[in-house]
Symmetry: C2
Subunit: 356 residues, 2 copies
């Protein structure tokens, strides 16, 4: 039976990425050796890293004056690298969920954190708006998509300070205006590749302004100077990420992705708004994530939750159980998720409704 | 033509590791999904992590009271995590090369570093002996194998303080007495798997003794508490590492590896001591690395360096160019390197000698 992969991350990747990676695990770039066993300083792997950095710049229209890095440690390591490098005495954070909260916790080790707004009062089921940001902060940190709670900031907040964003779960899903950011970071394991690679886009002249001593590996400048080769990068995850970047370009880039992502999200949210058994957890349409669609059973049908999970599983749906802090269900419909899989889930919801 | 992979790292891996990884990149554990696109919290991947941690304990005979972790960031991140977590005010470091020097540089950000000895005076071509270690240091840090300079500490120094070791390039190549260590770390990309995974073995009660605040991701206790799942681990590199651990067990473990590694090293060093064209850079046999065999042209034949590199390359040797700080050649003969490849290199050296 065909599986429909709705995992929140690590999550569905293009067939192209899987095929090319499997090939290179056996024979990389005609070397007769695996991509896993070739020096990161070989000309073959240097070409991989160079192309990956160039494609990120091309696809996201990264302006001059920014560097693209492939690091390790995921967003969780960025939570501390960002303030280590960019926070003088004070920074602002918008709290939209579990990941924002973790970023705030680390930032507090480095200075004063101004939490400009929070949706914690409603279990993070909306994006706060109309908040004020002090002029004297070094940046405003946002989490552009909240994987757990199913909300997304599809447009940057209009503020007078540079932005820093955790885009782990929606990077490459729609165009962004990189010029508004001092730094963007993203764990690879949603729209890019396997876990183990971390993408960073940093404005060069935002660096070098803090007084604290930064350990070498935590200093973005170290990695800029070495072209992400200061130490051995995660070569296999970077190779796989490059395949996805090539697939993205071949398929029309982030502009084309946005169109399909809107289509997929509309199909699923329309059904959730129609089907009497289910309720989306995010009420405001403009806050609804196009990547992670969270929903619960309607109050009158709460006892059917386990039944629906079993039914959907029997139809090939994988990974739709909701995060424990929200409950219910979560359908993650990243770039690589075909419209057909979204339609299969909707069909399962309709079939289940008919039988009740 | 058969390639003989002498890269220093990322480096040769068992065929078994490559085959199993290529399979799982397409279809992991019968899920019909790639190991790259399955949640790290799925029961299938949790089983991978659990087995990998258990096999490390089994193969290295890790005593009770130690935790095994799979982290990210390589040895370079450990250079700072070690003092962040383990150094109160003072620690001792043995300086045996470039990697030791980098570890020392990071430790100096956290307190007083006592460099107990250094072989820098002779371009690190020997292992210092007979040094004193102050009683009031928290640990003595050693680099057990020096990839660049071709030296190895095959036995732990006899000291009265706990050891901490960077074993990136010789872990699993011979038995070790883990009880002498407070912490052992190793980037995976030599004897374990692809780059992107970092193995740490830490004595639980060595932690929690420093007063400084440690950022969450840099605190070993975070990862112990979460079974290496605090954040998304590098799932594909960990999966591949597990395959090598299985291969190690199937092939007699580190005890069997040691025998073959001694045999391979003897074959190569014997030829270097015999062949008039070449000179090993490490004179003292007991300091010679069994993992990285470094050699240069004999003074009378210095002009033949490029010729030999071309000749060896024409015979299928890959990655034998020496590191720029030593020059000449380096043949890395890790666990997965078959005796046949070492013999092929020796044959190339002999053929080259006959024609001169």
């Amino acid at each position: 039976m065909k599986k429909h992969n709705f995992y929140a991350g690590p999550s569905i990747l293009p067939e192209f990425t899987k095929e090319k990676t499997a090939e290179a695990v056996i024979n990389f770039a005609g070397t007769g050796l695996s991509v896993m066993e070739v020096s990161h300083r070989s000309k073959e792997f240097v070409a991989v890293m160079d192309e990956a950095m160039a494609l990120v710049k091309e696809l996201l229209h990264v302006p001059e004056g920014y560097s693209v890095l492939f690091l390790q440690g995921g967003a969780s390591l960025q939570f501390l690298m960002v303030p280590y490098n960019l926070m003088g005495k004070k920074a602002a954070y918008l709290n939209t969920g579990a990941w924002s909260s973790k970023a705030i916790k680390e930032a507090k080790l480095f200075g004063e954190v101004v939490e400009v707004a929070s949706s914690k009062d409603a279990n993070f089921n909306y994006i706060p708006k109309g908040f004020d940001v002090p002029d004297d902060v070094d940046y405003l940190h946002i989490t552009s998509n909240n994987t757990i709670f199913g909300t997304e900031l599809l447009k940057e907040p209009e503020v007078n300070v540079p932005l820093v964003a955790d885009m782990s779960s929606d990077i490459f899903s729609h165009p962004i205006d990189v010029a508004k950011y001092n730094l963007i970071y993203a764990g690879a394991q949603k729209n890019l590749g396997p876990s183990g690679a971390t993408l960073v886009i940093v404005k060069d002249d935002a660096l070098g302004k803090v007084e604290r001593q930064i350990p070498t590996m935590l200093n973005y400048q170290t990695h800029i100077n070495a072209g992400s080769m200061f130490n051995t990068p995660a070569t296999l995850p970077v190779f796989a990420s490059l395949q996805t970047l090539r697939w993205l370009k071949e398929n029309g880039g982030v502009e084309a992705m946005e169109k399909v992502n809107i289509e997929k999200a509309n199909i699923l949210y329309s059904e959730l708004d129609r089907n009497k058994l289910f309720v989306p957890t995010v009420a405001n349409p403009e806050d609804r994530s196009r990547m992670n669609v969270t929903f619960v059973m309607a109050p009158d049908y709460a006892e059917l939750e386990k039944d629906f999970l079993d039914f959907a599983t029997s139809k090939g749906m994988v990974g739709i159980k909701g995060h424990r802090s929200v409950g219910g269900f979560r359908a993650s419909i990243y770039n690589a998720m075909p419209v057909e899989s979204v339609k299969a889930l909707v069909e399962a919801m309709q079939d289940f409704e008919k039988n009740k």
